[in-house]
């Protein structure tokens, strides 16, 4: 479980995060939802320690992270797996080397065991035969899969995904969403996904936090998001014509039942 408390962050004159608090539960896919520029990625980076918040704290399973001693922060970081928006695969390494990298650097295990783990992770994300490929030879969806394999390779306890669907076609996006959800439940890890994709909300949003202009406006699940009475959230959800049509159908059905 990850807890954040009163996170503030300002870049120059721009207040990006304004007192955000919340709890991200273990075994669930927690979504940070919001339009572009609302501070979702900055909040994610504050949680993993890539950006230092001006104020506030982050706790991983009861262990204080922000401003704690370096070795404690390092210990926590070694349990973190992260899928970046751009996948952030190391260009100079093959797929196999990319997945093996955290094992080589962080885990003390024999070479054979490392190789087995790499093959297991690649198989888990459906890339059994891509070991020797370079990142430049992969499609966007494959890169995301390799990113997930690299994130889960060292047995991570916390998985962070920054817009895992960006730039992917709807079908591939759906597969990536499914994979994230499966992995979260299978390994009982705490997953936080930054997204602005309503499909992801419907597919995997066990718990959703909606951000607007650096503030948390709404928190709930995919089951009650369509019933929210927050105007900015409704505006965001129903900007999509499909969602508007779905809402209309739902209202018509409800009307006919009454």
């Amino acid at each position: 479980m990850i807890e954040i408390h009163n996170i503030h962050k300002t870049f120059g004159d721009k207040k990006v995060l304004d007192g955000i608090s919340g709890v991200f539960e273990t075994g669930k896919t927690n979504l940070l939802l919001g339009a572009s520029g609302t501070g979702k990625s900055v909040l994610l980076k504050c949680i993993v320690g890539l950006v230092k918040p001006d104020l506030g704290s982050v706790t991983f399973d009861g262990t204080y992270f922000t401003n704690n001693k370096l070795d404690i922060r390092q210990e926590i970081r070694r349990k973190i797996g992260m899928l970046f928006q751009s996948s952030a695969l190391f260009d100079s390494m093959t797929v196999e080397e990319n997945v093996m990298f955290p094992l080589k650097m962080l885990a003390k295990m024999p070479k054979d065991e490392r190789m087995d783990r790499v093959n297991f992770c690649l198989k888990r994300v459906g890339l059994e035969n891509a070991n020797k490929k370079m990142p430049s030879e992969l499609s966007g969806g494959m890169k995301k899969r390799v990113g997930i394999a690299r994130a889960i390779a060292p047995d991570c306890t916390y998985l962070f995904c920054d817009e895992p669907n960006s730039g992917l076609d709807p079908l591939t996006a759906l597969k990536i969403d499914g994979l994230i959800k499966e992995i979260t439940e299978e390994y009982n890890i705490t997953t936080i996904v930054v997204t602005h994709d309503m499909n992801s909300v419907i597919e995997i949003g066990d718990k959703i936090m909606f951000l607007y202009e650096g503030k948390k406006l709404w928190e709930g699940t995919r089951d009650n998001i369509l019933d929210s009475d927050v105007p900015k959230l409704n505006e965001f959800i129903f900007a999509n014509r499909l969602m508007r049509d779905a809402k209309k159908v739902e209202e018509e059905e409800n009307g006919s039942h009454q």
Binding site: K45, R78, I80, F84, Q85, L89, D91, F101
Partner: protein, 232 residues
């Protein structure tokens, strides 16, 4: 600079990374260093011969001058300026790209000190490889001078060899190697700094590479003057 030496990875990882970087910086630069230094030696020989058109000055002086100019100045400084262009832009461009494509963030999230992991091996590798390339450049410049001098009949092979063997001061080699260490440090650290602190997109990576090269060249020229003043 302090972040390079805090939370360093294990010596084995640092060693392997340094060897990788040494191959990238060193082996991949041999061709350009060889071409540039050979022609510099050749041109120096021809131009000195053209200017020493005096019956009272022995022709072997041409060989002597080629050797002195090469060892003291041309091999370390011109080689370093060439490497500032090739290696400096490559370091800044590589690190800049890693920065904007979040590869540096990926290292940090794994709990790896990205500065130490990425930059320190580049600086150590440059310190090892630059003096080797400078020694190679010295040898090839003198050889280039020999070929140019004898092919153009500026002097005989015997005269050239007599010239390059006369009044040899071993300290000049030491001086050139000290300069190559200083230049290696300046080029690798300035380029790494420019690349590591890149933010933005492709345009900024290009700008970082350009700035890295220009800053490195200026630093090399200033350091060249300071070294000459202090050490000669």
């Amino acid at each position: 600079m302090s972040s390079l030496f805090s939370r360093t990875e294990s010596p084995r990882i640092l060693f392997n990374r340094t060897i990788d970087e040494a191959i990238l910086i060193g082996i991949n630069s041999i061709f350009i260093v060889a071409i540039v230094s050979t022609f510099i030696g050749a041109v120096t020989c021809v131009q000195v011969a053209y200017n020493l058109n005096n019956a009272f000055i022995p022709r072997s002086t041409i060989g002597f001058m080629v050797r002195e100019m090469t060892i003291l100045e041309l091999a370390p400084t011109i080689t370093s300026i060439v490497l500032a262009g090739k290696v400096g832009s490559s370091i800044a461009g590589g690190l800049g790209t890693m920065q904007i494509t979040e590869q540096v963030d990926a290292l940090e999230v794994m709990g790896i000190n990205s500065a130490s992991y990425l930059v320190l091996p580049k600086i150590i590798a440059a310190l090892i490889v630059f003096p080797m390339l400078v020694v190679l450049a010295m040898f090839l410049s003198i050889a280039g001078g020999y070929v140019a001098g004898t092919v153009t009949d500026a002097l005989t092979a015997q005269e050239y060899i007599t010239g390059i063997r006369g009044d040899f001061v071993p300290y000049n080699i030491t001086f050139a190697l000290i300069k190559s260490f200083v230049f290696a440090f300046l080029i690798s650290s300035i380029s790494s700094f420019r690349g590591y602190y890149t933010s933005g997109g492709a345009l900024e990576v290009g700008a970082a590479s350009t700035t890295a090269v220009t800053n490195s060249v200026i630093a090399v020229l200033i350091a060249d003057f300071i070294c000459a003043q202090l050490l000669l």
